[in-house]
């Protein structure tokens, strides 16, 4: 993990550490940990039976997820307390590290192929999905780029081409895996970062058209993608094959009704919902905790995003602000896209739910984002942090 080389703790001594912690957005920290707790509970419920089947251990995924959560929390704390400059100085290292691992996934035997896609890097008992860290690396790079080249961003060759080239390279590597969803997420990040970074709207509109055309080409060229898209448009037409996941997800949610079947009582996860503990964990939650549980999760995620945007808007430094904005986007887009898939309003594309879905890479990535936001929250609203939090 490329962020592993951490700087020596910035705040010196107990008093300054306490001060640093207190100056953070503790509400953001609270909802993050709450969400992670719900995630652990749901992973246990969703994966227990399958884990017993395949690994002979009911707690296989649960234990691993706890490990990820602990590692993620440590990462978050480190990033939150580290000097910001140190983090920004890592941007190229991050960028090259991500490109390098993306290449390694494709060309080295360490690349792990699951269901026809090489998206993972095998590292002993764990596998790493570089795509998750690509998002963070891209955001840090773009934030730095737009803030430092602000006077140039409105010109095409210097202001538009480099970020597009970097993003394009990453998207290309993702498409080779193939990971269409991942590439789409990076493209969205680029677009929204450009938007906030001040790129001319003309360019953005132009790129939107280009992206739309490119996506259409990609979809038309791959029967797999077009089938998935068609299945999404009418999942019930081919409910046993391509529309399967969507239909099963809707069945699960529908079965949950208002109050749910009760924790651990869901039936869809038993046989029907593939990867119930991964991307479709919200379907399991919806079945077991009902609409009430969904409202709870929506509210928690809502509070999380609200705090993220507040932190973002309170940044005075453009680089800080864009970084915060990007981290917010990673979390927010992840949640929205995942929910859209689970609720049958977007085609399945393999986007996990931040903190809730099982998986090491995205949990670490989400904690990384929150860690950076917590770090930034220390300077939210100038030096007047206490007031900032009270507001």
């Amino acid at each position: 993990m490329s962020t592993a080389d951490r700087p020596n703790g910035a705040p010196q001594g107990r008093a300054s550490l306490k001060e640093a912690v207190l100056s953070m957005d503790l509400l953001l920290l609270g909802v993050t940990l709450l969400l992670m707790g719900i995630g652990l509970m749901m992973v246990l419920s969703a994966s227990g039976i399958m884990a017993e089947k395949f690994f002979g251990d009911k707690y296989h995924f649960f234990h691993r997820q706890i490990l990820f959560a602990v590692a993620g929390t440590a990462l978050m704390a480190t990033v939150a307390l580290a000097p910001r400059k140190r983090i920004y100085s890592l941007k190229y290292l991050l960028l090259f590290g991500v490109v390098f691992t993306l290449l390694a996934v494709l060309v080295t035997p360490l690349g792990l192929e699951i269901n026809g896609a090489r998206r993972w890097l095998k590292l002993g008992p764990f596998s790493l999905q570089p795509m998750e860290f690509a998002k963070v690396a891209l955001v840090v790079y773009l934030a730095w780029f737009f803030s430092r080249k602000q006077e140039l961003v409105k010109s095409f060759s210097v202001g538009v081409v480099p970020p597009f080239l970097v993003t394009g390279l990453m998207c290309l590597l993702l498409l080779l895996q193939p990971d269409f969803g991942g590439a789409a997420v990076l493209a969205m990040l680029l677009f929204l970062m450009c938007l906030a970074g001040g790129t001319r709207l003309v360019y953005l509109l132009l790129s939107l058209c280009l992206a739309g055309g490119g996506a259409w080409l990609l979809i038309v060229q791959s029967p797999y993608r077009s089938r998935r898209l068609l299945a999404f448009m009418d999942p019930f037409k081919d409910a046993l094959d391509t529309g399967y996941q969507l239909v099963q997800s809707l069945y699960a949610l529908g079965s949950g009704r208002i109050w749910g079947a009760g924790l651990g009582m869901g039936k869809q996860k038993l046989f029907f919902l593939p990867e119930a503990h991964n991307d479709f964990i919200m379907a399991v939650l919806g079945e077991e905790l009902g609409f009430a549980g969904m409202v709870l999760v929506f509210a928690i995620v809502g509070v999380l995003l609200w705090r993220c945007f507040v932190i973002t808007l309170r940044q005075e430094d453009l680089c800080d602000r864009l970084t915060a904005f990007g981290m917010t986007l990673i979390l927010g887009l992840g949640a929205i896209l995942n929910m859209a898939v689970v609720l049958g309003t977007a085609p399945p594309k393999g986007v996990p739910m931040p903190f809730l879905s099982y998986g090491g890479s995205h949990v670490l990535c989400a904690f990384l984002c929150v860690g950076l936001l917590l770090n930034l929250s220390r300077t939210a609203g100038g030096r007047n942090t206490a007031q900032g939090r009270a507001a």
Partner: protein
Amino acid sequence: MRARKANKPLPASRLPKARTLRLGAAVDGSRVRIVLVAALMGLAWLGLLGRAYWVQVVDGPRLASLASRQHVASEYVSGERGRIYDRAGHLLAMSVEFKSIFARPLEVENPRAAARVLANALSRPYAEVLRRLTERRKFVWIARQVGDKAASVVADASLSGVYLTTEYARQYPDRHLAGQLIGFVGLDQKGLEGVEKAFDGLLAGREASFPVQRDASGRRLYLDEAGREVDIDGGDLHLTIDEHVQFVAEEALQAAVRDNEAKSGTCLVVDVASGEILAWAEYPFFNPNTYRDSSPAQWRSRIAGDAVEPGSTLKAFVVAAALQEGVCDRDSLYYCENGRWRIKGATINDTHKYKWLPVHKVLRYSSNIGAAKIGEGLGVPKYYEYLSNLGFGRRTGLPLPGESRGILREPGEWTDVDLAAASFGQGVGVTALQLARAYLCLANDGVLRPLRLVRSPEVEREPDRAVFRPEVARQVLAMLRDVVMEDGTGTAARIEGLQIGGKTGTAQKAEPTGGYGKKYLASFVGFVPVDRPRFYIQVMVDEPQPSHYGGVVAAPAFKEIAVKSLAYLGELPDVGPLPAAAMEVAGDAENKRIVHKFEVGENAAGSVAASADRDDGRVPDVVGYSLRRAVALFARRGVMPAVRGEGLVVARQSPAPGGSWEKAREQGCVLWLARGDERS
């Protein structure tokens, strides 16, 4: 980093004034745009919440009912029926997967279009298919056990309301081999006869109406409601039958029945030490693959189901009982009335006329009168007690449908004539299984043990029971030896180099009108070798003609089975010229396919008896071996060597030692013989 810092002044110098202004404007401009993005995301989030409300609360009941329907009847699968194996693991019965097509007419959206597709794919009349698709039923079969091509066409068409399911058809690779024993299953995969019926509970695949999950390797998982994995495949059944011995027995039995123009015949081969039945042959044969072309008379098992009057084979037991009770000893003399004895209005005849015979000769010459007199001395209660202890009148408990318990009347109903008749095997009904079990008692030092037909799973068995003292059993065995080895009735069963013991039986069959007529049941039972019994072989031939003596009709079959089985196991003794029978092990082109299985079977021989010769899968060096041993070694691998020259010892061989058996089979083998003076 450094390069970039160096770059910095360039743009700055290009737009020096605008910089600070722009930066401030950018921060403010970005604030507006970020708020815009936040608002959009908030809207999306609220929209998704609304969608969740719709899916869960408004549309929830409908989706929930769809989901529960899928819980109850998603896929209709039946597990694979278990296989039946012989003792060495050769397949006797297996299931082959087929696709069947069914419809739920209520779910068929466009019956006409569906019927057109189905009629084309299945080559069936359109009208008939349409009629089925529109039946007012929940479930109709469209076609069962269709070909792969038709199934894939139907699957690809993915017609609404039309489903494919997996069914299995039963196949018996060895055709008629042990047909009556194995039995068969009906179209619905229910065992209807034989062990298929008796072990239906074990073999039958269970049906799953719950859904199926495939893991990454494509293996199907069946989970019950609580998520536990369920194995819906049936269990396998391993019989004690040895495919090869079975084949040899069937071949010999067929020859005995055909040559003697008999009606039918049965044969059992049992491993004496374990009581395991190695062969269960019944002629006419029954091929379970085509059971619909056969009649119930052909597929019901006579060995288990028919009680017959055994005739003289029962004499061994009256003698044993009398010896045990001290009524007589081996040399006690009985007057045999010169071949004709009248008691209480009945006449008992002997085939040959005898005056005084000692007990052991009564058995050797099979004198009815002598046996009747021994029985008379024993008395009804004692004789009944022994017959009962030997298991007559009681089922053997083998797991088979329709086993007869035989006919053994209560002792109070017996007259003196009944006792006399029962002493030489008339008026008592026994099944072939009961007779085999009783004879095995003699070979096991007088201990009655249950027969075994199933190796696994474990079957509950009766406890052993001591019936005779060991010395009594051995004494009778010695008398049985004399039947074959001396001037007895069973000399046709002799095998050179082996001590054989046996007993002939020539039972007159009772007429339906009463009394005994001109029809006979000829039988021969015996042990190979008799000094240390290894196999028990029992041959019964029903209504042979013109010759009807057990010693003539059944004994040769006994001999052939014994020789071929021993040759196959490599246990023929090393004496005398090779009997022609052993050379025929791999003969009979008609049955080549069955024999071929032994050729390819890796461990064909090893299971019944651990072979003395190491078998490393290569052609062994047999130079210096006796011809018999060499032939046995080759025969076990299904290769019948040609023999050149005269003598008893192999002088040269082709192919050379160490070659592969496949090559040997292709090229053929030749053994050159030399006069083996050193072995003479």
